[in-house]
């Protein structure tokens, strides 16, 4: 088990945008360079020197942009990849035409991205997945609440606020559970398999959250 240098899973808040940040392009250059290093050789073997070389800049410049060095770069890579993940899922959810499609897209897209995303996985090396699982499970309540808040507006197109909130949370739980503990009967990488499962169990559950008053179909 690697105890060191595992970037924490978090969502960047407004308070973390420094006023005196150097031009964004250098940050992007470094994060992209780090991603290439990680994809090639894994996290453990990626040093600050290599990231600097890959990003075509000196170590001194790298440290000016990321005073925290390697750990700070890795955290930026995690943040970038998470943002990419969420925007990818948002596109899938936003283009879904029905409540069923939102649920299917949420489970299928989020599940397959988390299972197969080279970068997110390579990011944390061989035990990538187990470490990511720890990060998510470390504070399950927090993970569920962040992910549900993200998904809720997409459910709000089809449900009243209460149903949307709870429905989004249900889908997040389903994704987490099937990621952590895969099931022979449901293949979350396969859209049709997910759809069959959603029709049988998840969609009726979410539909039943509608209250008698106020909810229109």
């Amino acid at each position: 088990m690697t105890a060191t240098a595992v970037p924490a899973l978090r969502v960047v808040g407004d308070d973390e945008v420094e006023g005196s940040a150097p031009p964004r392009s250098k940050r992007v250059q470094i994060v992209d360079g780090a991603l290439r290093c990680i994809a090639r050789q894994g996290v453990k073997k990626t040093t600050v020197e290599e990231i600097a070389r890959e990003s075509s800049m000196s170590r001194a410049t790298l440290y000016r942009v990321f005073p925290g060095g390697r750990d700070e770069v890795l955290q930026a890579v995690v943040d970038t990849e998470l943002a990419r993940f969420f925007s990818n899922v948002a596109v899938a959810l936003g283009t879904a035409a029905t409540l069923e499609d939102v649920i299917v897209a949420g489970i299928h897209r989020a599940g397959s991205l988390l299972l197969d995303s080279g970068a997110l996985a390579a990011l944390i090396d061989e035990d990538a997945w187990s470490v990511l699982r720890h990060a998510m499970l470390d504070d399950l309540d927090h993970t569920i609440s962040v992910a549900s808040a993200f998904a809720e507006p997409f459910f709000g197109r089809f449900l009243e606020p209460d149903g949307a909130r709870r429905g989004a949370e249900l889908v997040v739980r389903v994704v987490l559970s099937y990621l952590i503990d895969p099931d022979e009967a449901v293949d979350i990488r396969d859209e049709e398999s997910v759809r069959t499962f959603v029709r049988a169990f998840v969609l009726p559950g979410v539909e039943a959250l509608r209250t008698d008053d106020g909810d229109e179909r």
């Binding site: 088990m1 470390d138 399950l140 549900s148 709870r166 739980r173 559970s177 009967a185 169990f201 559950g205």
Partner: protein, 198 residues
Amino acid sequence: MASREATRQAIVEAGYACLARYGAERMSVEDVAQAAGISRATMYRYFPGGRDELLLEVVRYEYHQFFLRLYDAVKDCETLEEVIERGLLVGHRAIEEHEVLQMMLRVEPAALESALLVESAPTRAQVADFLLVYLERHELADGVDPRAAASYLARLVLSYMQAPGQWDLSNPDEVARLVRSELLAGIVPPASLTVRQI
């Protein structure tokens, strides 16, 4: 002279007491040996891996105890909806009141987390097997496979017990709503559900 099993048990219980008192970070082999009334050497004979191995054992033991108590609380329930409702209420309360278990579920170091993860698949399978009996007795919606339904229910019950999210699982009305919507709406015909019994 105490049997090997009894000594082992005494060590695990002492380990639990120390874990509760000091937390995982500060609990030491010396403390546990002292609390169990044995020498450090004896302690290492039982747990060659020392502190880490003992911690895992304590976690496993407590995890097991938790499910035994849960089983005790629900084993007399008659219907599927009743067993899930009571399970959620009792499980939630037990976790809320059980400081060490809570610590283990929420904020423990990676070593403990991995112990819980290792246990997660077998636990799910056991909970599913338990629920399957109730599913087989209950009228099911058309085309529902009881095994698939049992797996879905087990996953969600465990998920809600570990992290209740937006649901107030100490409120029987909310629990009833949760069970009759998200958990059972696709599995049983609505008309077959009994009124809340807890």
